[in-house]
């Protein structure tokens, strides 16, 4: 493996990892603060991708489609939280698993009814549909670099909100001791709705910006959900920092695993998870 090839893989791994971070951060926030295990998280990623595909066809512009799709995703998150999750906060994880599994069935089938079972693609949008020349025969897509930049910027925003704002303090306190925060007069109910909507919006957004890079297919949410579970287990539940490093580790492992040990590529991330569980059963950053 020469240097140019290596750096392309490095960039790919980084880009995949950063994308995973967007999804996993929503997942870990919802776990950490609301105590809810949301299996339908991956379905929201899929819906984000399909929304942007559909709206790009209708509006003729990827960026407009994204602008229109984000509010739709947020409203969908709000509806799910108010309608279904509201009753589940005080109940066992088993019921959350089952209810959100039921949601997956409904959302996956709704996708099939609305958009059918075909695989779709979205063209890489206008200013970024170029590639830069790395060496004579290797080039790198500008859009991938753009995705990386956006993900990093969002990671920065999340970090800033969590560390330096009043909201961040409340969220972190809520993750540590929910009852105490409630006792101090914070409206936890509103906080939950906010967190869930933000988490869902982050996932759907990840689906949207990933749409030009992947094939948009039924069931695309399921595999990403499980990968994100691995990320969260490695990083530690409720930890944004853990989600970040976990996502980078998994992104790199997936990319380099596929190149270096193709026969075991699909297992690499699980082997890493097993190793982490052996050493630190609560995750690296918990």
């Amino acid at each position: 493996m020469d240097l140019a090839f290596f750096s392309v893989q490095l960039l790919n791994g980084l880009q995949y990892g950063l994308l995973l971070f967007l999804i996993a951060s929503g997942l870990t926030l919802i776990f950490g603060i609301m105590g809810i295990i949301n299996l339908a998280h991956g379905a929201m990623y899929m819906i984000g991708a399909y929304l942007v595909y559909d709206l790009t066809l209708r509006l003729g512009n990827f960026w407009l489609a994204m602008l229109a799709a984000i509010p739709i995703a947020i409203v969908l998150g709000l509806i799910i939280e108010r309608l279904f999750l509201d009753t589940l906060y005080k109940r066992d994880h088993l019921y959350q698993v089952l209810l959100t599994f039921g949601l997956i069935l409904v959302l996956n089938e709704a996708q099939r009814i609305i958009w059918g079972g075909d695989v779709h693609r979205v063209a890489v949008p206008a200013p970024f549909d170029a590639s830069i020349q790395l060496t004579d025969n290797l080039q790198y897509s500008v859009y991938r670099l753009f995705v990386m930049g956006v993900c990093l910027a969002l990671a920065g925003v999340i970090y800033w909100v969590m560390r330096h704002t009043r909201l961040g303090i409340i969220i972190r306190a809520g993750a540590a001791n929910r009852d105490m925060v409630e006792g101090l007069g914070i409206n936890v109910r509103t906080l939950f709705t906010l967190i869930f909507s933000v988490g869902v919006a982050l996932t759907a957004f990840a689906g949207m910006i990933a749409a030009p890079l992947t094939s948009i297919a039924p069931g695309m949410g399921d595999s990403i959900l499980i990968t994100c579970f691995v990320v969260v287990v490695i990083g530690g539940i409720g930890s944004i920092k853990g989600a970040f490093w976990g996502a980078i580790i998994i992104g790199m492992a997936t990319t380099f695993g596929a190149v270096l040990i193709p026969s075991l590529a699909s297992m690499v991330i699980y082997l890493i998870m097993a190793a982490v569980l052996l050493v630190k059963p609560r995750g690296l950053f918990a």
Partner: protein, 355 residues
């Protein structure tokens, strides 16, 4: 756990068992030329009931919510498919111990890792390990990849030269599965009432207290995990015999989700509930599949509604019918109600009497 149920539970279960066992007598009269198809469906329900019951040991009795139980179901199926000789039937006398041995070993390895985690972590790690085997099998050329493996001959159950049960005959196989389910049920009933089961019950209630009392709770949980895995693998083996193939879908997490649905539909922690749940799930599936091609929507809504209004499942309805209790039990209080009963049964009663 509710060890003592009203008498009607036993009556209802006995009547249902008799009804199922007598299917060959009344099946043709009711279903006409569809009777053979229905017999196959019924056999599958018995197998799935065994599968759901094995999960109940983990979820209902110990309180460990596993979302990777299909790992063992698929493992049983693949062990059978890969160990069967191509041109002659395998013998059940070594196939069954092989399936149990393989699943026990895998259960031990996975169990050691996942038992270290709790709550949400346990759910996610069991799911991830299930998917690990799923990807391993579906990408491995040894196991036929995504196509799965066909089983040319069902194993035979013979003593010397004489056939004990002809498993190729759908009726004999039906009774064989019914027998396995009954054995599984009696085993779990015995297990939950034994000293070991009492400790599991205690862990479900308050693990810290059990630890403070000097119980090595991890060991107990690990053994329960392995036992549940072995039972699920036996169910998987029977399912592979029924289908005639082992398929990666049997390992996938949707299968794990479905078996959890059977558990919630039937009522967890009751051992007999999951049997009802498996039947209810398969009957609903049959109805929905015939009603619309978009049946997953109906199934999804059913499970959402079941979680919201019927958290204790069909078994809960039988044990404490809402029209009998004076206090109106709504979903929120229903689980509280259940908790109270659990707490009552966890009182320091003399254990010898129960076992």
């Amino acid at each position: 756990m509710l060890h003592r149920y009203p008498k009607r539970v036993a009556y209802i279960m006995l009547v249902l068992t008799a009804l199922v066992a007598a299917f060959p007598l009344w099946g043709e009269a009711v279903f006409g030329n569809q009777a053979n198809f229905m017999l196959e469906k019924l056999t599958l329900m018995l197998i799935l009931a065994l599968f759901a019951m094995s999960l109940d040991l983990l979820v209902g009795i110990v309180g460990l919510v596993s979302l990777g139980h299909a790992l063992f179901f698929g493992l049983g199926a693949y062990t059978l498919a890969l160990a069967s000789p191509d041109f002659s039937p395998a013998s059940m006398w070594w196939m069954l111990p092989l399936v149990m041995g393989v699943s026990a070993c895998v259960g031990l390895i996975v169990g050691v890792l996942v038992i270290r985690t709790k709550g949400i972590f346990f759910i996610m790690t069991t799911l991830a390990f299930g998917q690990m085997l799923y990807y391993f099998i579906s990408t491995s050329p040894l196991a036929g990849g995504t196509d799965g493996v066909f089983i040319m001959f069902r194993p035979s159950l013979t003593i010397g030269e004489t056939s004990l049960v002809n498993l190729d005959n759908p009726y004999s196989f039906f009774y064989f599965c019914l027998g396995m389910l009954l054995i599984g049920f009696l085993f779990l009933r015995w297990l939950t009432r034994s000293y070991f089961g009492q400790v599991l019950d205690g862990i479900h209630d308050n693990e810290h207290r059990m630890q403070a009392l000097g119980y090595a709770t991890s060991g107990y949980k690990l053994v329960a995990f392995v036992i549940a895995g072995v039972m699920a693998a036996i169910a998987g083996m029977l399912a592979a015999m029924q289908y005639g193939f082992a398929n990666p879908a049997q390992l996938g997490w949707h299968t794990s989700g479905e078996v959890l649905m059977m558990l919630i539909l039937g009522g967890m922690g009751t051992i007999f509930g999951p049997i009802l749940g498996a039947f209810a799930y398969e009957i609903l599936l049959y109805i929905y599949e015939h009603a619309t091609t978009h049946w997953p929507i109906l199934m999804g809504l059913t499970i959402i509604i079941a979680v919201l209004v019927l958290p204790r499942g069909i078994a809960g309805l039988i044990i404490a019918p809402p029209w009998r209790s004076k206090r109106q039990t709504e979903p929120g209080t229903a689980s509280e109600h259940g908790k109270a009963q659990v707490a009552l049964s966890a009182k320091p009663t003399p254990q010898r009497k129960e076992s």
